[in-house]
Symmetry: D3
Subunit: 193 residues, 6 copies
């Protein structure tokens, strides 16, 4: 899994202006960044020279659905792509939700370098980019019994094996920030109120 | 100027956890990214393994002081560091101003990977990071008659030579987005009102 | 249904200052504007010289509950009142929700021309205007099996007849913006996550 | 000046879809709405079937530059166009500034019915609509010694004749809300601090 | 219950700098302030010289979960502590939720006098203060069949005895603002939609 | 100056409901809280049973005009009124500016206990409360060569005697937070840019 992807990419793409035509945007919340995300990222990189990873809902953290801060998620991704030796071709941009879907795509465009195609599985994201005239490709869902944020957070809550669902760098970051305790404590909210 | 900096960096730093200790934050508005910024960035990279470039006042654009969007500024930086072959070790994070200085550093921390030292010349930025307990280094001001955002924007307005103040990639981006016309048209605001 | 309402209105009301006393505010979300809304609007116009239509939750769009942008809803209303020949006496003001109910009425007052009575069926809207000292009238709910936003959106999702629930201008606008596809795509959100 | 403009407009324009092609957007702050604005509005209506008046900086009021609330400005405009018998063909939409110029046009589009051409004299507004691909026409500045918001507010502060610069309905509204006292009291701010 | 607590407090604590070391923060939403809150407040005051009451979710009001404005809640508390003769040692600070949990504690710190320990029962509040390095004590839940906001609001809705759950001053304030009618009217929202 | 004001207040005022009629609101920015503010506060307390101190522009800090956070300003005030033995009758509420003057008074009302009269010297504050129907009294400006925020901040910048302009508790707080260095460092902003 630590093979460099540089060799896979056709040489002729990396020539001046052409390269920009080959930049993809990959949008997700990455709560946390798991092996399914990594697979998709690597696939995208076989066909596009660069990828802008959009870390969505950047303002959210410390909830059961969104336990990690954008900074923590970015740390997970940077350590993983560094280990995978693909960091040179990846940009990572945190983007807040805004309470106005109708301007969200323009908001994204104003905070990212230009891109040519969008990868996402979230129906709202897909629809908004389509209505704004972007090419959108839905990403394949793979191995959902393990590679799913919901499943991983469920395992953390129930002391089941979650490390096998994420890259080793991500497991390390989550341990350093004491992420499992955080999720467990937050789950108490539903019991009192 | 297009020499890779990888050779300069002592090997032993790039070993697991150690590496994280050597990450620097470099904060600026980059309106536009000029040769002075590039010099500082390269200096920082000789002493730190990675740099997080904080593109500040990310929400601002289309004013005389802040003509370019965060996305345009990120495009300027990504094309430059790619040409300079230092992109592998650079992260670029856009950060909005928030109207509450007292929480700004915490806001930055929640949107970036961890960092060990901050580089900035802006007194407010310096003060806020210091009060929050961060190590802060002021960057050296070099060649101010050319390498200054104010000076470059002034030259653009007056049809003087501005291309010599910025990396060639930046000049190319500014031409593509018709940046000089934008600045000239915005300057009309002061005349009417 | 395309009869002008001007003849119905007593002449003596339309004399200078008096007229202002007869302005009503009609608040709703209009997702979409349907025949029930049109009936109420026409009834209000028989007793008040002018109506300010408040298009509430203006910031919302692209959700199952709130599929249409404020602009699209305003377009639906303007084309309908034009066809009905009542546009001269109707103002349309979009108003965002604000996350502070206690100042919402003051917020509305600062964005609309003055008004004398409020028409609404939404309990929160009714309560807030009452506490602020406004006269409030609840609108009659008519023909709820057809004239209800919830019902119309349900029909769109299930390919049932929805056109008969809205003015023909509204049906035309919804087709132009491809509104039914939008709702169907957004409904996918519940399935993945 | 109180002649209906309906007769001026070529009949063939008002036929179904065609009509929408002829809608203009007229953007301004209207602090206050003066005779220059009215002249421009009437000119636009000779060539376009409908006008959407964008009341900009809607959130501002109670400052020397922006003394009137959006609601008060809308009241000024509605009373004037009613007197001028052109209300049937005019929509009035208040729009807040947002601290992100790069998404402002999309924001406007999501809150207004569709439009085909923009009229404005404000360089930033002109530039933003142009960059977003809209047709923009600059409005002619007429009779600036009287028909200018700055001049009118100056006259109010100095007890000079300001009523001759605005439609009589506007003068009436300003008197009702005690607008001149408001401006005078606010001007005290500069003296203390 | 109206005994002054001053006598209970060890004298030596109230001497210059020492005193500041003994300030506690007590966080809650207080919808409404009930006898359980009062018991906790009095307990805290036996061990700390001063208490800062944080009135959380200050922006919320007029919902079934959060019926009262921050001002109304502050009025409830001030009248109660005045009757209890403990007002001298209590500060009351309203704090809005912010949609960014990661900066919330810093936000609180920037709006309150310094404090040494935090009392709360809300898991998210507890977690956030802990992660920020504060000492946190969970408050004991007492007499939950009566002393609970949820229970009190339920009783109000169903015309059951709620006055016995709150200090008499609070009951008086709620009657003055017609609080029970407000809750009942808001409960209609679920029925229509 | 450390005499308790309790004796001055007529007994009969402090009887149940009557007391509420005598609550004053005293609005300011208190950058910092100085001897002029204290004099006014004490005067108000001779005629009103309680005072709500509104700490305005609460979100601002770390600028030359607004160097101190709301929390720091509240700390200055609480330590002073404690020393003056008037804390029992004083509430302190921080209030953010909102970028919508037209709703600001309603915003204040929703965050404070009820009040009967407003004391302020700021023309905008005075005007807004008046238009909302509140009784407003302008405070007397005393000893402006010493008792003025502008003057005190100027003295701090120039190493002149500023301690004589503020209560001793305030001088102590400013020293603890290293306030003079903060102002000096922030003043560097004007020199670079």
């Amino acid at each position: 899994m630590s093979v460099s992807l540089h060799s896979i990419l056709p040489k002729q793409l990396y020539t001046g202006r052409k390269r920009r035509v080959m930049r993809a945007l990959y949008a997700g919340r990455f709560q946390p960044f798991h092996l399914g995300h990594l697979e998709i990222l690597k696939k995208i990189l076989t066909e596009h020279y660069e990828v802008v990873i959009l870390v969505g809902s950047a303002q959210l953290s410390h909830t059961l659905e969104n336990p990690f801060t954008a900074g923590e998620r970015i740390q997970m991704i940077t350590e993983t792509i560094d280990e995978e030796k693909i960091s040179k071709r990846v940009y990572i941009i945190p983007i807040d939700d805004i309470n106005r879907h109708s301007v969200w795509v323009t908001h994204v465009e104003s905070l990212t370098p230009s891109f040519d195609v969008v990868f996402s599985n979230e129906p709202l994201t897909v629809r908004l980019f389509k209505e704004a005239g972007h090419a959108v490709k839905q990403t394949e869902l793979m191995n959902r019994s393990k590679w799913s944020g919901t499943e991983i957070r469920r395992r953390m809550l129930n002391d089941e094996a979650w490390e096998e669902c994420v890259p080793s760098s991500v497991a390390r970051v989550i341990k350093e920030i004491d992420g499992v305790s955080r999720i467990k404590e937050l789950s108490e909210s539903d019991k009192i109120k």
